[in-house]
């Protein structure tokens, strides 16, 4: 600090009159406050999400045309005739996610087991980044793939009269391909974290490789794998562009995967892609759907984190 520059005899250091007493360091305090603000900032994001979604959703439910019970149980979503039943949107979200997970869970887990337990070091080192690139491609690219490749494929397999141009199956399948590497990569990390000593214990008893893998390693990594699966589900429910491009543009209450429908996310995108005026019921409705989406995915994420934390406790 300037003003204290006279060096103490011989040491070359400035003399400190305060001795060992605590000093106020203004610079440090300012920096620390700035850092605290940065850390705290994310709380604002969450508050913003909850406040804005909540406020507009409340306006939505306050309008006379909307009945909260009707919203949760109604099977028709047609704003222009004041029908606001979420079920057609929710079932379509559910069906596409179900198809996706049917693909992604078994294939992703099997791929994880192969990579972590069977593949040679070299194979793993090349395959894992490839899978991660696959998981990192923008989802609009997958949307293109669903519409231009998977839909024509499904239509040629099952017939044009069975499979509509826009359909839930193709969106769900491609979503599965998107989530596969996610589950594979996260599960592989969980399998890798299983201590070597445990494997050796099983081998030492004369177990075959498969027995070691399926009966010791996988159960030991199960919570990590479960967390991966839950994150995958949450990803599927929140996924937007694939379904917006390939599943359809109109709510349809159906359980037939070859029919077109509209998911919650797809609906939000379509409504807000047009010219949306504030304070219209359309504007408010996307907040209500968004709020529902937020709570579903938040719950899933919290559950997954709980599971991961328990998994840490076992080994550390």
């Amino acid at each position: 600090m300037p003003g204290k520059k006279e060096a103490a005899q011989g040491t070359g250091y400035p003399v400190r009159k305060e001795g060992l007493r605590k000093r106020r360091r203004v610079g440090e305090t300012i920096i620390q406050s700035l850092l605290f603000f940065a850390g705290f900032f994310s709380i604002f994001t969450t508050l913003g999400i909850v406040y804005e979604l909540g406020k507009e959703a409340l306006l939505f439910f306050r309008t006379p045309e909307v009945d909260p019970w009707e919203f949760l149980t109604g099977t028709s979503w047609q704003p222009h005739i004041n029908e606001f039943g979420i079920l057609p949107l929710a079932t379509s979200t559910f069906i596409t996610s179900l198809i996706a997970m049917t693909i992604a869970i078994p294939l992703g887990m099997a791929a994880a087991i192969y990579l972590s337990e069977y593949a040679s070091h070299k194979v793993r080192r090349t395959l894992k980044p490839i899978l991660e690139i696959l998981a990192g491609l923008p989802t609009i690219v997958y949307g293109y793939f669903a519409l231009m490749f998977v839909t024509p494929l499904l239509r040629s397999l099952f017939g044009n009269d069975v499979v509509q141009i826009y359909n839930m199956a193709s969106g769900g399948l491609v979503m599965g391909i998107l989530i596969l590497p996610l589950i594979a990569s996260m599960s592989e990390d969980a399998l890798n974290a299983v201590p070597r000593a445990l494997r050796e214990a099983a081998y030492g008893l004369g177990a075959t490789k498969l027995e070691v893998v399926l009966k010791v390693v996988v159960p030991a990594a199960l919570s990590g794998i479960a967390a991966a699966i839950i994150v995958g589900i949450s990803r599927a429910i929140g996924e937007t562009m694939i379904v917006a491009v390939s599943v359809g543009a109109g709510p349809n209450f159906t359980f037939n995967p070859f029919q077109s429908a509209e998911t919650m996310t797809g609906h939000i995108v379509r409504i807000s892609g047009g010219d949306l005026s504030y304070d219209s019921i359309d504007y408010n409705s996307i907040f209500a759907i968004g709020l529902l989406l937020f709570f579903i995915t938040l719950t899933l994420n919290i559950v997954s984190q709980r599971i991961v934390r328990r998994f840490r406790e076992v080994y550390e």
């Binding site: 620390q32 850390g39 969450t46 294939l107 690139i133 690219v141 996310t265 939000i268 995915t297």
Partner: protein, 416 residues
């Protein structure tokens, strides 16, 4: 002799099941391996599908035969600028001609630009039909025969939809003239805003959490909150951006408070709003990645610095950060490449459908993924070829970012 050793006799106590167990092992190994292969096949199919769309035969038809515009036998390709302007004057309505002249006077335009205008406004090529790469390769003869028969005036060409002009041209309502210049600039500008906001905030938050925060309820809440935000679907951020940046902060994000008077952006649906929305989206990812990088710096380094009497911040600034920075940059690049590919939140924030001017931060915006979405959603095949070409541009952009991240990561792992 062995009989008196109890462990020797497999005397019926253990079933001789070794063969079965090994068979199961082989079968499952094949299952595991096949699953991995299926994943790889899916990736391959996806890439091939995009390449398939980005190249192939196209049949064009000109509304006005360019040969008919030739002056004194000189084809329009070789005409000087003045004559091209003359052609424009003769063939366009005077209103349209004056409008072009008002935008940029003709004598200030380049010859190429005027030539493009002639092609775009007068000759007007239309795509009559287009084919994918696979069709073009396997059915070349049939395609040629069909074009001669059905579209006698059309010109058939094998083209790459992704080419230099495609990258340099602005968006257009005609497929043959459409390019991704607007979208690329839009993406870059949006990301710039995102980085400028999210990087300092994210790294600051990570430093706070890793170096300063005590283990109390508030900091635990912050940590949990960040993890939860990382899992919120991106479309929710779009809705948040719409409510906050577009609606509440509209005066700010439209540039009105800074004296920008573009009436089209008064709604706040601007590059700035888009960039801020994406900043909120990637912030938790940057924080989490940066925390990991900071955690990888050995504790002994901090102790060494503190033990010579450095303050906390001096320690962080001169020892921790320099060692963590490659890791922090890697994490940031990965987060940013996520932001570059995001589509849904930008649609909700209000991306524009058709803009053809170079954007600034207070102008309406489009980005590469938005462009891809809009082109994919159109039913005509030629737009989907353009979408495929734009996807290739996007992938190249992302791969080069990822390659940078890998280089940085390799450099950082050599440290300790």
């Amino acid at each position: 002799m062995k009989k008196n050793n109890p462990s020797y006799s497999n005397g019926g106590r253990f079933r001789d099941n070794l063969a079965t167990r090994h068979r199961a092992g082989v079968i499952w190994q094949i299952v595991f391996q096949a699953s991995t292969v299926i994943g790889i096949i899916a990736l391959t199919a996806l890439l091939l599908n995009i390449i398939d769309g980005a190249f192939g035969y196209v049949a064009y038809e000109a509304r006005v035969d360019p040969a008919s515009l030739a002056v004194d036998g000189v084809a329009i390709e070789d005409l000087p600028q003045e004559l091209l302007v003359e052609i424009l004057r003769q063939n366009l309505s005077s209103g349209a001609f004056n409008k072009l002249d008002n935008e940029i006077p003709f004598n200030e335009r380049s010859r190429i630009n005027v030539y493009d205008l002639v092609i775009e406004r007068i000759v007007r090529y239309d795509v009559t039909e287009s084919w994918t790469l696979r069709e073009s390769l396997t059915q070349g003869a049939e395609i040629r025969a069909r074009v001669i028969e059905e579209y006698p005036d059309a010109e058939l060409r094998f083209i790459s939809w992704i080419n230099a002009e495609f990258i340099q041209r602005p968006q257009s309502s005609e497929a043959v003239n459409a390019g991704v210049r607007t979208a690329i600039l839009g993406s870059l500008l949006t990301i710039l805003v995102t980085i400028l906001v999210a990087f300092p905030l994210g790294v600051g938050a990570a430093i706070y959490l890793e170096e300063y925060a005590l283990d109390n309820w508030l900091n635990r809440l912050i940590r949990t909150n960040i993890n939860n935000l990382a899992g919120v679907p991106s479309i929710i951020y779009g809705i948040l951006g719409l409510a906050i940046f577009v609606r509440v902060l509209g005066v700010l994000t439209s540039g009105a408070v800074f004296g920008s008077v573009d009436p089209t952006t008064a709604s706040g649906r601007t590059v700035l709003s888009a960039g801020l929305t994406l900043a909120l989206l990637v912030l938790p990812l940057i924080i989490i990645n940066a925390q990991e990088a900071l955690r990888a710096v050995p504790q002994s380094l901090r102790q060494a610095s503190l033990s010579v009497g450095a303050t906390k911040w001096q320690t962080v600034w001169s020892h921790v950060l320099p060692n963590a920075i490659p890791g922090i940059l890697t994490g940031t690049i990965l987060a940013v490449s996520r932001a570059i590919g995001e589509t849904a939140p930008l649609i909700v924030v209000g991306a524009s459908t058709a803009i053809s001017f170079d954007p600034n931060i207070f102008s309406r915006f489009t980005t590469l993924p938005i462009q891809i979405y809009q082109w994919t959603a159109r039913p005509q095949a030629e737009w989907r070829h353009l979408a495929a070409a734009a996807i290739l541009v996007l992938i190249v952009l992302l791969l080069s970012l990822n390659a940078t991240a890998i280089v940085l990561r390799n450099r950082s792992t050599k440290r300790f």
